[in-house]
Amino acid sequence: MSSLSLSARDTPDMADTPIDEARIRRLADLLLEVARTVDPELAASVPSNFEGDPRLEALRSVLLEHDRAAFARLQQKVDDPQEFAEAVSAVLASAFALAASRDERLASILAPTMERATQASIRTNPKTMVGILYPLMGPAISKSLAETLDGTLQGLNQAFKYSFSWQGLKWRLEAYRSGSTFADVVLKHTVVFRVEHVFLIHRKTGLLLEHVAAAEAASQDPHMVSGMLSAIQDFVRDSFSSAEGGRGGGIDSLRLGDLTIWCEEGPSAFLAAVIRGNPPESLHTQLRETLGHIHEDLHGPLEQFEGDSAILGDLSTRLGSCLQQQEQPKEERLSRWLWILPLVLVIAVVSWAVSRAVEESRVDAYVQLLRDQPGVVVTGAERRDGLWHVSGLRDPLATDPAELLAKANLAPDRVAGHWEPYQALNPAILLKRMEATLSPPTDVSLVIYGNTIRARGSAPQHWVEKARAFIAALPAGSPRIDLAELQDVQDPTFIALRQAIQAHIIPFDSGSPRPARDQEPRLDKIAEELAQLIKVARGLGFSVRVTIIGHADATGRDTSNLSLSAARAEVVRSMLRARGIAPDLLSVRSAGALEPLKPDATDEEKAINRSVTLTVSTTD
């Protein structure tokens, strides 16, 4: 098959130079011989020109001996499949590594082959592949399910996003508080369930491998349940197997009234959970993981199982982790009330304590306020029978304690006052007392300087006299009352009238109790002036008294003079009375000769001393 071509490159040099033909032939022969040595086929088809030339043969064997042996070894390696395989296997790994590092071609070349190999493997024995993949499939499915579920929950989240139901708001608040997503909270409240039984069932025989039940969960014989469940699975798998003859899946979920049965299938065994209520998707994960772990750890025993569960050991604790349950929210409501009750109590106690403290501080303020009041002495303040009692001494003229309650923000019915009356000597109270007792004229002002009350302004004589009497009646130790600055001011009409009346001297004849006859007009005048004076005084707020004083001259005996002067005064009184003057305003005094108006030396003087005079005094 192989061809050999030899070509000598023509060089101009060669063409021009005369060639030694014999040398060229020899060279050609030599080259041909080399080619024959290298290619056995050529050796067979082209006869050697050196045949029979023992020298060349000898030379050849010397020159090429080594290469020949090496070549033979190589030839052997390539021709023998076993050896060739060995040789390739030594470098295969590095060759793959090299090829893979170079570019992507290796992967794309291998991929279809790998796929075909996998397909073939699955076709001939699916169980092997399932067995290989199961530990991976469990988590992979969990993961994809979790993602799907997450998507669903996000959808749910969206759906609830704009729902402003009371429940929705409450759950939102809860989600916010607990830091979980809203969807989680919704699930938590809507999913209420209890796993009552978990069966681990051998797939091939339908025999029960393990069974755990929640406390008080009623059940059929677990062996029979396991048999029936497995029969149902077989039936379903058989009936709905795919057209190509591959096995269909069994039942994932069965619903019987409010019982749900969830089945989780593994290669050798399946888990069935009997659940009351609405289980959460997380339970699926739990079942799947439990089954996955059992398969990982007990792969061999599960394959070999023929009815003796002793070879599997105790699986009840593993299955126990699937016995989950979700409490009714009812209980939560109860606990919420339990939580609120003490809170209410605490609030009540605290608010009571606070209000009491507030009230107490107000009472304190109130007592302080009372202490600042002149004429009030607080002797005690205490709380009794839920009421405050404040007691002490109080001058009747001091501020009414009840009026101060409002100032201290206290309700009148919260505080009862118990006050003993007393007379305070405090200047302020004394001033009040003065005002109450003396009712000073508007011109008079009373001012406190330290322990002294000073009266200022102008007041009528009669008021000043009253004030003096008041001061005189004060108990020892009282504040001083100073009237020195007070000016005596009287009504000019009153003064004029008083002067006029007091200026009158009614003369009498010697020894006669009756005024001289010509004195009638004077008496008329006196009566008229008196009437006016009384009227004026009444207008000024006081009344007047008139004392009629009878005089006599020193002639005669003293006793008769006294009676004579008394008689003279009485006569004037009755004469004035007869002229319309109220008799109770007129008093009579006899001075005899003891208060002579003149020295009583001359007759004129004696005549003046035989008389009646009038003095006006003021009373309230």
């Binding site: 025989t205 029960l208 029969a231 569960s309």
Partner: protein, 164 residues
């Protein structure tokens, strides 16, 4: 504890359910309620010193339309073939079932029960086929769910064979 799955197989109406009922509940009824699908029952018995729980799969009988589902037979530790002595054709059906079961689960212990032994006078079963089966190594028992004849014995025998 040791458990074994035991299938009860045969033509329809041969008395499979009745045999299981007699064995598990010691009861019998003349009423015929055909089994739909499978009915699983169980009974624990003592074989020597060991306790064995037999999980009994009473499988709906085979008729012209429905062959026995082989999926139900998978994993069986042993099985009964039940034929009705009063209906000779049920023996042939039992034989055909056995062949199929054998390919599915292999050579596990089994017994052939010729049931309704209490009606032996009306049996139409000829001796030859029975003897042929015995010659082939089959163990054959005449039973009656009605009287309980050979019922306990049959179950005990199968249990022993499965444990040995």
């Amino acid at each position: 504890m040791i458990q074994k799955k035991v299938c009860v197989l045969g033509s329809f109406g041969v008395g499979k359910t009745s045999l299981v009922r007699r064995y598990v509940q010691s009861m019998f009824s003349d009423a015929y309620l055909t089994t739909v699908g499978v009915k699983v029952d169980k009974k624990t018995l003592a074989v020597g010193s060991a306790d064995v729980t037999l999980v009994l799969w009473d499988i709906a009988g085979e008729d012209d339309i429905n062959a026995i589902r082989m999926t139900y037979v998978r994993g069986a530790g042993g099985y009964f073939l039940v034929a009705d002595g009063t209906r000779p054709e049920t023996l042939e059906i039992a034989r055909s079932i056995q062949a199929r079961v054998n390919t599915e689960v292999g050579a596990v212990p089994f017994l052939l029960l010729l049931n309704k032994a209490d009606l032996q006078e009306s049996w139409g079963l000829s001796r030859e086929p029975v003897e042929a089966l015995e010659a082939a190594g089959w163990t054959i028992l005449r039973t009656s769910a009605k009287t309980g004849e050979n019922v306990e014995e049959a179950f005990l025998e199968l249990a022993k064979r499965m444990l040995s």
